[in-house]
């Protein structure tokens, strides 16, 4: 781990540990905006970490920013930290000024229409964005689309949208935003980012958050297994429990490695396929990890009073966001098939980072 990464990890850890109490998590689930947490984050500069210094950020690399995203998962931070980090990175890449406040990162999904009309200098948005994380609480919404035949970053004001509240399994806001000819700012994204960069960066963030949440599950489950006694001994002394926790540890490590693989690819070129791999692997680990943690925790883990659910509900929600495992697996598999068996090993040794995403829709030049 680089020095910057270690420093970011420490900063994020301390800040989130201090501000993500159970009371904060519960209040957020009731719809309260955790203002103190967000102010502390803004003061720390973490939301801007990925933007270059010239754009008011810290200019850290993706593998370093990963530490912040993992910490966000480890503490179940009930704020759009990952989303704002991804959005600021996109705005900076496109040379758009970052507006103040928390930002939402919206990835248009199939069947949900946001139509962009007009032309350079006068784009307007018509239609809706579904299940936008913190859509109703963000100051602005950032997304990406193919406009004028090139991938562009779009910046919309939340105040211009009609908001219909929704929520995830973890009762984090997932709001529908409806725009009726709302003005927007658009600027081209430089290569290698593609028209679905918002989806890709969102998926990368979720893979990292899943890795962090799994670390927390592992820690809590191991502690529980050592403290809880049955049949006159700690349940962690039973081989059945030991082996289940060994699997949880392995899945946790796999999720963290997969997220790191994607972050590295984002530093080198088009990360789409590496992100696909990360989201697939981390998502699978989320399912397995949550199942094991609940089994080890027994009935107390199934109550609201216990704390396990703050993480397991997030894991179940996150694995389906910014592209499910199934969606990403199809995309990765189509690309592998199109490139043929001879290309598979060379592509893997290139960290899934160098090759063209054959399954990409827009045929984006890179």
């Amino acid at each position: 781990m680089s020095e910057t990464a270690a420093l970011l990890r420490e900063t994020a850890e301390r800040l989130l540990r201090d501000h993500c109490s159970r009371a904060t998590l519960e209040a957020a689930e009731r719809g309260e905006w955790p203002a103190a947490l967000w102010s502390a984050l803004e003061a720390s500069g973490l939301p801007e970490a990925l933007a270059p210094e010239a754009a008011g950020g810290a200019g850290v690399a993706w593998r370093e920013a990963l530490e912040v995203l993992r910490a966000a998962g480890r503490h179940a931070a009930p704020v759009p930290l990952a989303e704002t980090m991804g959005a600021t990175a996109l705005l900076a890449a496109a040379g758009l000024e970052r507006p103040p406040g928390p930002l939402a990162l919206a990835a248009p999904e199939a069947g949900v229409a946001l139509e962009i009309v007009g032309g350079t200098g006068g784009w307007r948005a018509q239609g809706r964005l579904a299940a936008v994380p913190w859509g109703g609480q963000a100051s602005h919404v950032v997304t990406t689309a193919l406009l004028d035949g090139r991938p562009q970053v779009l910046l919309l004001r939340r105040a211009d949208a009609a908001v219909r509240r929704g929520s995830s399994l973890a009762r984090e806001p997932r709001d529908e935003l409806r725009f009726e000819g709302a003005p927007l700012r658009a600027a081209p994204l430089p290569p290698p980012l593609s028209a679905d960069a918002a989806l890709v960066l969102g998926a990368l963030a979720r893979a990292a958050q899943i890795a962090g949440a799994l670390e927390r599950l592992l820690e809590d489950s191991v502690r529980h297994a050592r403290e809880r006694s049955q049949f006159g001994r700690p349940i962690g002394s039973f081989q059945a429990i030991q082996h289940a926790l060994a699997v949880l540890a392995s899945e946790t490590a796999a999720a963290a490695t997969a997220a790191a693989l994607a972050a590295r690819a984002a530093e080198r070129g088009d990360p789409t396929l590496a992100v696909a791999a990360a989201k697939i692997r981390a998502g699978e680990a989320a399912g397995i990890g949550a199942r094991i943690a609940h089994q080890v925790h027994g009935a107390i883990g199934f109550t609201y009073e216990g704390a396990l659910h703050f993480w397991t509900r997030r894991l179940w929600a996150w694995r389906a966001e910014y592209g499910s495992e199934r969606a990403w697996a199809e995309r990765l598999g189509r690309s592998v098939a199109a490139r043929g068996s001879e290309a598979l090993w060379p592509d893997v040794t290139a960290g899934l980072g160098a090759q063209v995403d054959a399954a990409s829709d827009g045929g984006v030049p890179r």
Binding site: V222, A260, L261, I280, E330, A337, S341, W345
Partner: protein, 382 residues
């Protein structure tokens, strides 16, 4: 609870050209090799191929030049291993010598042994095997009973080793023996010995496996006398030496690539535009593959940096061998075709071979249960 250390490893710049060189050489060397033979992976035994590889300098790459090595880095060696396995090259005739026996001799061997054996190992001429398991000592390695008794003129060996891969084709075994049966703790009093398998009093009997293949053996020692200098390392330090050796054995690319040829056949069979469920099945396997490769490299990075990655290595082997075992399952589920070791097309033959071989993946080199025990200990549960 131990903190897991699996930082991504960035291979040195020299790795790129080396990888291309090896890849290009293998493309020619293996042209026309049937898929069913490539599927044997590191079980494929071909002394001629090993000799050719030795000529290229790709065996004993990290060893000192004076012993026939190439003084290359451990990570460069890893690049060669990855390419050999991904191509389905028959590497069994030198695999153990390169991975385990050579490094052991470098560390513990006498100068005479090193000078006599290492150059021939690096040329791919000497086959080695590992004598650990016994009839009464499988997962419970400390239960071994084979004895090496100190007598005038050397060590007298008695007992038997079991499941010793390629013993019937090996020149030497590095085996674990009890040198002090009266030792108080069962982990004490063991030593490693270098045994010339041509020594009188040693009988090697191949054991047929469930597929009809013969690759592992029983080796019986009946008062076989080996010289004094056969002792490797310190007398009584065998257990510690073997445990250290296993970390090298557990997380290499051979622990997640054993079924890779079937994944390639699956991609071939799927064609360039598979239907969605098939594409998703392939995509998922590739996601696992890419992740496992990074995990395995991360462990290699730990080793190269001088850290002890025993916990991480156990974890990667558990995940890697599970993946190797899952590929035949998934391939069968996706295409619904029969495993046919003989007479089928490439996919069916490779599926046939791997369906039968896969059970061994989570047995050899430490069972899944042993590995999970090691992980649990790292988690502070044991």
């Amino acid at each position: 609870m131990q903190r897991l250390q699996l930082d991504l490893l960035d291979l040195p710049p020299a790795a790129g050209p080396l990888r291309e060189e090896v890849r290009g050489w293998l493309r020619e060397a293996l042209a026309g090799t049937p898929a069913a033979r490539r599927a044997r992976s590191w079980g494929g035994f071909d002394p001629e191929f090993s000799r050719r590889l030795g000529e290229r300098g790709w065996i004993g790459m990290t060893w000192p030049r004076r012993y026939g090595g190439g003084e290359r880095s451990a990570l460069e060696r890893l690049v060669v291993l990855e390419e050999l396995l991904a191509a389905g090259a028959p590497v069994a005739a030198h695999w153990v010598a390169d991975r385990q026996s050579g490094p052991l001799l470098l560390r513990y061997g006498s100068e005479g042994q090193r000078e006599r054996l290492l150059p021939r190992m690096a040329r791919g001429e000497l086959v080695f095997c590992i004598g650990m398991s016994e009839p009464g000592a499988g997962s419970d390695l400390a239960a071994i009973r084979s004895r090496a008794e100190s007598v005038s003129g050397g060590w007298r060996l008695r007992g038997s080793k079991l499941w010793t891969s390629n013993a019937h084709r090996s020149h030497y075994m590095i085996g674990l023996f009890r040198t002090r049966p009266e030792a108080e703790s069962r982990h004490e009093g063991m030593s490693q010995l270098l045994v010339d398998l041509a020594t009188p009093g040693i009988t090697v009997r191949p054991i047929r496996d469930l597929s009809g293949d013969e690759h592992f053996c029983e080796v019986v020692f009946e008062d076989a006398l080996v010289p004094e200098e056969a002792l490797l390392g310190a007398e009584g330090a065998g257990w510690a030496q073997v445990m250290a050796e296993l970390a090298f054995e557990r997380s290499g690319p051979e622990r997640y690539l054993s079924s890779f040829q079937l994944l390639l056949e699956l991609v071939r069979a799927a064609g360039p535009a598979p239907e969605p469920a098939l594409a998703a099945g392939i995509g998922r396997l590739v996601a696992h593959l890419a992740t496992l490769r990074e995990m395995s490299l991360a462990v290699a990075g730990c080793l190269a940096a001088g850290r002890d990655p025993s916990l991480e290595a156990a974890l990667v082997k558990d995940l890697g061998t599970s993946f190797e075992q899952e590929i035949p399952e998934v391939a069968h589920a996706l295409l619904g075709r029969a495993p046919r070791p003989e007479g089928g097309d490439d996919f069916e033959q490779v599926l046939g071979f791997l369906t039968q071989t896969a059970p061994s993946f989570s047995l050899r080199g430490g069972t899944r249960e042993v590995l999970r025990g090691i992980i649990a200990r790292g988690l502070g549960l044991r």
